[in-house]
């Protein structure tokens, strides 16, 4: 009964160029929306990355006055006293731009809105997310919010840092509306985040395939479920915060202004009540990707499935109780000690996950594909990022380390070494499914290695700077730090080269890649039972969940022949992939 076009690939153009563009612009297909999000996020990643490379370039040899009273540093034209101020100004805008774009427009939406949108319905065996039109709306809201934020840059930039701390954010650039544009941009982006999270929670509750209980879901879905709960519960708080900040900025209502009896620390509490949980919005989806990549590419069931699922929920729960560790210096000792203790709690479920991943790799049949190389990168970098969080949670050491480059290095290891690296793992893992094309594995591997080297050269150096007292967010520094800054800057260039290699690999894949098989890696989750790329309604028939997502020892993956699948001795496969895909669902 279904129409013909329901059986074509979702990528098949609908008529001419204009018709195709219109079709994409008005689509409610979660796959197309996921792809549109992916490209929007990657574009913003490019903008934020340009700002990062530019600010690292400024730090190579900042225009500054040395101990002898001479102006040094030549990067931004002839050096004199005014160029010091100009250089500092440019630097302040660059790091704000970098931070705001990377946090609000890249890392928060990156995995959930792109891969999550594409994969959650497929993994649950559903035709779409629960609210397809809301999903499209969230993409447009994302675009509008990004336009607001970018317009503040076009008007000359914002220099508050991505945290918009008062009273600086209410007093800087009094002649311009730039801060308001940036803040409203972040406010609008919050709606897109809420709508995505809400959609996923309902989808997971209501649209699982017949036979799929909560503990039959792939761990990717569990991770994004925990993420979505944080998005729904934390984002409104940043909404009211940024709204009050806008009122403060436009009308001077005084809530955050100490001169009128207001309290700037209240702003910080409000801000971090959102922004700390949102750190887990950034990392939980990354962990979710690794949960899929490691078992598939080691052909081994994930170690400790339930502990993984509950660790995700535990991280989401503790996420709401640790915001105070951003304000250790403006709280009572008792409050600081409590927040410090709660912060240590995060390490427990996180360490459970690390343990489980490594235990999964142990005695697995590991194939070092690009996604797997990235997953191993993730384990190394995230371990460093996680462990360096502990001295920052410790009150005594934090007193020395806070607001230094140690903090910068720590959260880049978690946010970039964690989230962006995992996003790349996921992209390489699901690229064949999303676009039906393989990529050049050799060059992708080279890219992965270059990114890994560039990343460590950039950020490992910053731990040393930070311990020696180099403060973050400074445009300039004493000469003793120059060698570290220059190593770090070289690293950022290597990193940029690595990303460009990936860009070319992806472009080459889209233009001339080999056609991807239905299930190139031998995954068992339901998205691999769909075509590559999937048909418009995902599955020809409603699939039924007949086995766990990681039963590699007893199920031959969809699209594979039993003879090609190395089954462990003594174990007979109970189900073949053919049976799985041809299974006609009930329900109607």
């Amino acid at each position: 009964m279904a129409h013909d076009h329901h059986h074509g690939s979702y990528l098949t153009p609908k008529g001419g160029t204009l018709a195709t563009v219109l079709d994409w612009a008005t689509t409610v297909d979660h796959k197309k929306i996921g792809v549109m999000y992916l490209f929007a996020v990657l574009f913003m990643f490019f903008l934020g990355g340009v700002a990062a490379v530019a600010l690292r370039t400024e730090l190579w040899d900042p225009v500054r006055i040395n101990e002898a009273g001479q102006v040094t540093g030549q990067l931004f034209g002839p050096a004199d006293a005014t160029s010091v101020a100009t250089g500092n100004d440019i630097y302040n805008r660059l790091f704000t731009l970098h931070g705001a774009i990377m946090v609000f427009m890249v890392i928060v939406p990156s995995v959930p809105a792109s891969l999550g949108n594409f994969l959650i319905p497929l993994m649950l065996g559903a035709k779409d997310v629960a609210f397809p039109r809301l999903n499209l709306l969230s993409w447009y809201i994302y675009v509008i919010g990004s336009i607001f934020a970018v317009s503040s840059i076009v008007l000359g930039g914002v220099d508050t840092g991505w945290t918009f701390y008062t009273p600086y954010s209410t007093s800087t650039d009094a002649d311009m509306m730039r801060v308001v544009y940036m803040v409203l941009g972040a406010f609008i982006l919050g709606f897109s985040s809420i709508l995505t999270g809400l959609n996923f929670v309902v989808t997971v509750h209501k649209l699982r395939a017949p036979g799929m209980g909560w503990f039959d879901m792939p761990l990717f879905v569990w991770g994004l479920y925990a993420t979505s709960i944080i998005q729904v519960l934390a984002t409104p708080v940043i909404g009211i915060t940024l709204l009050l900040l806008t009122f403060e900025r436009l009308f001077g209502i005084g809530i955050f202004d100490p001169a009128k009896g207001g309290d700037p620390v209240l702003y910080q509490h409000f801000f971090w009540f959102y922004s700390h949980p949102v750190v887990y919005v950034m990392i939980l989806p990354a962990m979710a990707i690794i949960n899929e990549v490691i078992p598939v590419h080691s052909r081994k069931a994930i170690f400790g499935y339930k502990s993984m699922a509950f660790a995700s929920l535990a991280i989401a729960a503790v996420a709401f109780l640790v915001w105070g560790h951003h304000m250790f210096t403006s709280m009572s000792e008792m409050a600081s000690a409590i927040f410090s203790g709660l912060t240590f709690l995060v390490a427990i479920p996180t360490a459970v996950k690390m343990f489980n991943w490594i235990a999964t790799l142990y005695k697995g049949s590991i194939s070092l594909t690009t996604p797997m190389i990235y997953a191993v990168n993730f384990l190394v970098l995230f371990a460093i990022g996680g462990l360096t969080g502990l001295p920052l949670a410790t009150l005594s050491t934090d007193l020395h380390l806070h607001d230094s480059y140690f903090v910068v290095a720590h959260f880049h290891y978690v946010m970039m070494g964690g989230t962006i690296i995992a996003l790349l793992a996921g992209l390489h893992h699901w690229w064949p499914k999303m676009f039906g094309k393989m990529y050049n594995a050799f060059w992708a591997n080279i890219g992965a290695i270059v990114v890994f080297i560039g990343f460590n050269v950039t950020f490992f150096t910053q731990f040393f700077m930070g311990v020696q007292g180099m403060p973050r967010r400074y445009a300039s520094y004493v000469e003793d730090f120059q060698i570290y800054h220059q190593i770090s800057t070289i690293g950022s260039y290597i990193l940029a080269v690595g990303f460009f290699i990936h860009l070319f690999v992806f472009i080459h894949s889209l233009a001339a890649g080999k056609k991807a098989a239905q299930n190139p890696w031998g995954g068992l989750t339901m998205e691999w039972a769909a075509d590559s790329p999937p048909i418009e309604h995902n599955f020809a028939h409603e699939p039924v969940c007949t086995h766990g997502p990681y039963d590699f020892d007893r199920v031959v993956p969809p699209g594979w022949k039993e003879a090609d699948w190395p089954v462990p001795e003594g174990v007979k496969p109970q189900l073949s992939g053919a049976e799985l895909t041809s299974h006609k669902g009930g329900g109607h």
Binding site: N199, P236, F247, I253, G254, G261, D263, L266
Partner: protein, 271 residues
Amino acid sequence: MSTYPTQSSGQPGGQSGGAAADARPLWARYKFGHHFRNSHDEFEASKFGFWLFLSTEVLLFAGIFCAYALFRAMYPEAWAEGSKALDWKVGTINTVVLLVSSFTMAYAIYCFQTDKQERARRMLVITFFAGLTFLLVKFGFEYMPKWSGYFFSFDPALSKYTANIVPEQAKLGGLIQFVEGYGGKRPGKMFDYPFASSPQMPIWWAVYYSGTVIHASHVVIGMALIARAWWRARKGHYGPGHYTFVEITGLYWHLVDLVWIFLFPLLYLIH
């Protein structure tokens, strides 16, 4: 939420048959989204999603209540003085208006469930105008005098300030009267009320205006949802088999009511 495919695709939709020739009302011809198994699932999913959205609304207002609690603890005199500057009688009227409108909203949903179309639409109209009444009272009898010192000439509160009326400043042929020394109760740097005894009064008014303006904007959104429900109800979109949009409009309207139930005593009643 609601799609009306002109041809049956076989999968979605409890009912079959060509829409053009179908004489049944629109709600009976409703076909649920193709990604749901049945219309009950779709209804439950929509309600669940909307409850999640309501939780975000509660957290949004939580910020205001948090600021209220903090500054109340810091500046109890300002809070006492500010609370006394508000007229509990006006607040009570608005509370009653919203409570009644919550009843009419719920009754409208009941009427759709039992297919009493005309009464359902009438209830939506009453709810809409209750919302409008709330806004008019809020702006005309509270914001306007406090902000600028201008009163409606028929405002009962004006009788207390007859000695301070400046007839030269009256507007709209005497419909709006100006009272000397009453206005200027504004937030933050715009504060211009000469007789405040607590120096932190600007913060009180900042919390008052932020909270009530954000609430009032929710009243406006609620009224827009009700207007849409009424418009579509005229064409017969809602009935016993399908009334999802009215249901979630009702949930939203009750939240608007509930937030006011908390704002009212905190702002008007406790000193």
